[in-house]
Symmetry: C2
Subunit: 461 residues, 2 copies
Amino acid sequence: MADLHVPINRDQGGIAGQIAAEIRASIRHGRLAPGTRLPASRDLAADLQVSRGVVVEAYEQLVAEGFLISRVGAGTQVAPTSARSAMDVVPASGPVYSPHYGHRPTSPDLGCFPRERWLASVRHVLTTMPSDVFDYGDPGGVPELRDELAGYLRRVRAADVRADNLVIVGGVAQGISLAVQVLTQRSRRLRLAVEDPNSHRQVPLLLRAGAELVPVPVDDQGLVVTELRARGADAVLITPAHQYPTGVVLSPARRAALMEWAAETGGVVLEDDYDAEFRFDRDPVGCLQGLAPARVILSGSVSKALAPGLRLGWVAAPAELAESMRQARGELDLGSPVIDQYALAHFLRTGGYDKHLRRMRREYRRRRDALVKAVAEHLPEVRVRGIAAGLHAYLDLPPGSDEDAFVRPARELGLAADPVGPTRLTPGPPGVVVGFARLPAHRAAEVIQGLKVRMSGQNID
Amino acid sequence: MADLHVPINRDQGGIAGQIAAEIRASIRHGRLAPGTRLPASRDLAADLQVSRGVVVEAYEQLVAEGFLISRVGAGTQVAPTSARSAMDVVPASGPVYSPHYGHRPTSPDLGCFPRERWLASVRHVLTTMPSDVFDYGDPGGVPELRDELAGYLRRVRAADVRADNLVIVGGVAQGISLAVQVLTQRSRRLRLAVEDPNSHRQVPLLLRAGAELVPVPVDDQGLVVTELRARGADAVLITPAHQYPTGVVLSPARRAALMEWAAETGGVVLEDDYDAEFRFDRDPVGCLQGLAPARVILSGSVSKALAPGLRLGWVAAPAELAESMRQARGELDLGSPVIDQYALAHFLRTGGYDKHLRRMRREYRRRRDALVKAVAEHLPEVRVRGIAAGLHAYLDLPPGSDEDAFVRPARELGLAADPVGPTRLTPGPPGVVVGFARLPAHRAAEVIQGLKVRMSGQNID
């Protein structure tokens, strides 16, 4: 039912005519689209403080002219054939998705998003919470969610956090952006070490937040801490659970070395807990934050465990820094939407989150194994790395290969594949990142075989 | 069901003992809270790649020690009396709400939030949308919502917008913050005129976004445009539909003068469409953006119409500026959560939004009238202003009054009241802002009478 904008000049008289003229113009200029239902004459009359007869008169005039149609039981609507102005409604022009096995190599399988159980959590919130929770709230997040998350992170990530260390954010991107903004504010200048190669989509974000970037190389044990020491930095942004793009898990020796660096130099470690939910081999590794809660800012999200579209994550930091981030959040957007926050708290409390993760971990392990097997069989010249955790594999291409000669046909086959080149701040050997989260195990062999066929004749080695 | 973090060293032997030790430590240190359900022995064994017997042995040991309890049909749980470390869970420490008629004077009546119909929209999204919509999306907002909103704003606010002029944001605060950031980026320096008095909660936000503030006085016609000209500015932030705190609606002459200023100087008008949904007198006024879409950035939200906790709003700007804001949003937090965006699109499309607004407008008008009547009767020395629109009234106190002598007893009576002093950048006569959205019409007389009694003997005049 349309809410109409109808200005009336009572000094002019002919009020029915004025109403009709206004509605006519609205239809002509596209402000009232074909099919739009107009308010009942009784309602519009009450709104405009005119008698009902005046509105009926206006409507009848426009029905007579063909702008409106009126049917018993269906009320009055804008006629489907109404004249429209040049300013037509733009057709929905979002990205077009064809059948595929992934959007980004880092995306989870959204076909497994637990829609029914999530809806049950939202229903729980909407049917049980007091009205006041829907008001302006704490920009740092609702207390119930911070409590549940603190328990979860202590239990599953061996983090050393309490509710007052946590700030709820719109995902890791915002978490890191807030942390860098707050750190920059304190020191005026922030030399931030970043992994090389790294998730290049983050670079504009880090620069916007005010950081100066210092690239530090990553080898097969993770970030090279001796290089970090040599280059010097106030803080370092790192993905220890599953580095992007190499897939390396930070080795125990490097974890120790990094913590020593932080303790000696007073440096801050920004820990992006990327892909931590999905560790496939025997020894899960707790987060760095649990080792040195005074020196580490941990950021994570539900993007891999549930869905990126929820835009829901957290930052754990020493209480004073957490308070600064909470305040900064209040000066940016007043915090995250509350219904999903309460829904996630309910989902965690009732075990839905753990259950979903357990199920997905088994499934992703199966898909990873199928991809690895298929590559070993059909592309023996390619070495697979970085598969102890996460949703993507790093493929080392033979020296001199053209990354695009792999990526293009892979994408044509529906595989989520990205070249490694753009993620490097300094040049390195060719490689590609391939996501396996959406590639069903029973399709892996066929897809990789198809890739081999398409690449034959191309310059891969 | 808990997801456990249990590192195992296979070289050491005694795996059941290692598992038990780890769980014991987790319980002692509070990582596993009393009552937490442990995974079934079969599931944990599969995760850790050990035999089920090993896990059963570990669980039995801990049951024997009193750390766990095991009941048929209920699985294994952490015992309620388990020892806990010093790091206890912090009790939920959110704001405590007592029965009242408002949280802020600007808050809507959240007891009227259409929970069932909103849930129906969320259900529609979760049961009908393809999985890909839950992935990373357009940081500028989902196309379906931008289409629906463009239609709504054209129809109800007489705005001149299409979907590609719109960026979905987390409320007006973020909308204005983004706009100021983008404008600052372009000109390096942004002299931003602000109304005086104004919504003082916005000041830190504007400064953080990079603006230099230029106060311009507001009189009973709204912003004094001659003063804006005299002081000079690159842009002006204004609340034409219902000024905060004065409640003034920008007069037709001032609207024209403001548009002249923008055209002549190339200045940008940042229009905060505050309280535009609730216009109570005869002539609704379209937004400024509809008059000069090339010079006005319009920002609005569902905070007053539905609930601030949804954190959902929009910015309409010339396409090129909209694109810059969309990009900036991508470098801050990757956009707003998608489920609520689709839900709002559905709510708009099916007429739920218009219907709710129509209902609330009638109700708020009733409450406003009751408040005005009660003040006239019981506090004749107080003049009520700014009530042509919105959810709050501006009360002029007699010269020399102490604002707090009104605000304190008003709040004790549950009324949402704020002093005007803190909203002024330059001193002015005493006043208070009172919200009527949550004050039931039948309670108004009693509350204002109570206020009169409490204030008697206090220095109000």
